[in-house]
């Protein structure tokens, strides 16, 4: 019978440790979740401003789409100047969240990387302007080329083709979503 008592004792010790850890985590998460939410919202707001500079305010739209996280109508005054779409795609190390600014005539005004877990020094270079600026002015269906980029194509980063393709996929998804939103708004 001694064994049974021992087994229960060991089981309870692990229960106490895990329960305590979960309690701590839940408590800290409860306090930090709203803050993190707020930080993310500010960050998204800032990148949307950089991506679509001539918009003053961003109104969240309830738009559902495959790979689309959220979409905002970019307004200056009352008329819609463009659309900002936040999309996600799977890169080399994990999900990459991209915000794409789309002008009224369905062209990319600019993109920004909100979050990624790509390898530092390789995929992580996607956050650099030299890579992001390639998307400006492109229309839907952007291609990725390893050699010299033809029209509507961007140059993949050397050693990080998977990341380049993932970011491009995210931008294309955003362009399609923006197309639908702009069609409805007209």
């Amino acid at each position: 019978m001694k064994n049974a008592k021992e087994i229960i004792r060991v089981g309870l010790i692990l229960f106490v440790i895990t329960a305590l850890s979960a309690l701590l985590l839940a408590f800290v998460n409860k306090k930090t979740a709203p803050l993190i939410e707020e930080n993310n919202r500010i960050k998204t707001e800032n990148s949307m401003r950089t991506v679509l500079s001539d918009a003053e305010s961003f109104e969240k739209l309830d738009f559902e789409g495959e790979g689309v996280v959220e979409a905002y109508a970019a307004k200056s005054g009352s008329d819609i100047v463009g659309v900002c779409v936040v999309t996600e795609a799977n890169g080399y190390g994990g999900a990459i969240r991209v915000v794409t600014g789309v002008s009224a005539d369905n062209k990319v005004t600019g993109i920004d990387i909100l979050s990624h877990s790509e390898t530092p020094g390789l995929g992580a270079n996607a956050t650099g302007d030299s890579f992001k600026s390639q998307y400006a002015g492109k229309a839907a269906g952007i291609g990725v080329s390893k050699g010299t980029a033809k029209d509507n194509e961007i140059n993949a980063m050397s050693g990080a083709t998977i990341t380049s393709k993932a970011v491009t996929a995210a931008v294309n998804t955003a362009l399609e979503a923006a197309g639908e939103i702009l069609k409805e708004a007209k």
Binding site: I7, I8, R9, V10, G11, F15, T18, L23, A26, K30
Partner: protein, 269 residues
């Protein structure tokens, strides 16, 4: 409040489940291992050199506990380890016969000459395949240092074409003995003052012709030894150290000075 209780229940539940599972499993899989084996293997140096004759320290520890292997067999750990192992086993440890490697050859460049010029892999085994090596004497130390590569204690090195052992570093693990293609190295008690420095098995005059420092099998040492410790078998003398009293008479009588006394051994190096 709900979103605190639920995680605690989920992760806590998982923890409890695994706690019970592991505790239960530990009884099913309880390994009846004698804790002395654990203690002994901790005390051993862990070099896994196999000098004690077992596959490694863990195997030696198990052998000591299960089938009573000698407590002082660890020649690397020497007396210190033997004591510790002894008191774990509750047995008295007699002084371990500390053993050292000894090269039975003095075929240096001036004592013997080369049959041919060898250009190829600098390895004794390779060289020994070519007519028994570069030196005229076919049992000589080949001098390419394969033994030095396997010695984990850097105790053996080649000087003037012949390997020689630094007895302070040598732990008697026997790795060099195993790898020497001509078996010129043997393990002898460290305290052995009298040593035979040749392993040439040829008859007198050809041995003489092949190397100035070779044993010609004249048996003078055998005649003069009172404790019947030294014998000549296939033309080379060898000492039975359990009988040898290190009186040194054989060394005086040996016409070719093949048998040396340890204290003058290091001087003539």
């Amino acid at each position: 409040m709900k979103e605190i209780i639920i995680p605690v229940l989920i992760v806590g539940g998982l923890g409890l489940l695994f706690g019970l599972l592991l505790a239960f499993a530990s009884y099913i899989f309880a390994v009846k291992q004698d804790d002395r084996v654990e203690k002994i293997s901790k005390v051993l140096p862990g070099a896994n050199c196999g000098a004690c004759g077992y596959a490694g320290c863990a195997a030696y520890a198990a052998a000591v506990v299960e089938n009573g292997a000698p407590v002082n067999a660890c020649s690397v750990g020497k007396a210190a380890v033997a004591e510790k192992v002894a008191d774990i086993m509750g047995v008295k440890a007699e002084a371990a016969a500390e053993r050292v490697a000894h090269v039975k050859c003095r075929g240096t460049c001036e004592n013997t000459t080369a049959k041919y010029d060898y250009v190829g892999v600098q390895d004794c085994t390779a060289l020994s395949k070519l007519a028994g090596g570069q030196k005229h004497c076919r049992n000589a130390c080949l001098g390419f240092g394969t033994c030095t590569t396997v010695c984990a204690f850097d105790a053996i090195s080649v000087h003037d074409g012949v390997a020689s052992v630094n007895e302070e570093l040598c732990t008697g693990c026997g790795a060099c003995m195993g790898v020497c293609p001509h078996h010129v190295i043997e393990l002898i008690p460290k305290s052995a003052k009298v040593r035979v420095n040749c392993s040439n098995i040829e008859k007198g005059q050809s041995a003489n012709r092949h190397c100035k420092a070779s044993c010609i099998g004249c048996r003078m040492c055998e005649k003069v030894c009172e404790s019947d410790a030294i014998h000549v078998s296939d033309n080379v003398a060898s000492i039975d150290y359990s009988k040898c009293t290190f009186c040194g008479k054989c060394s005086e009588k040996c016409p070719k000075k093949v048998i040396s006394i340890k204290d003058n051994l290091s001087s003539d190096e």
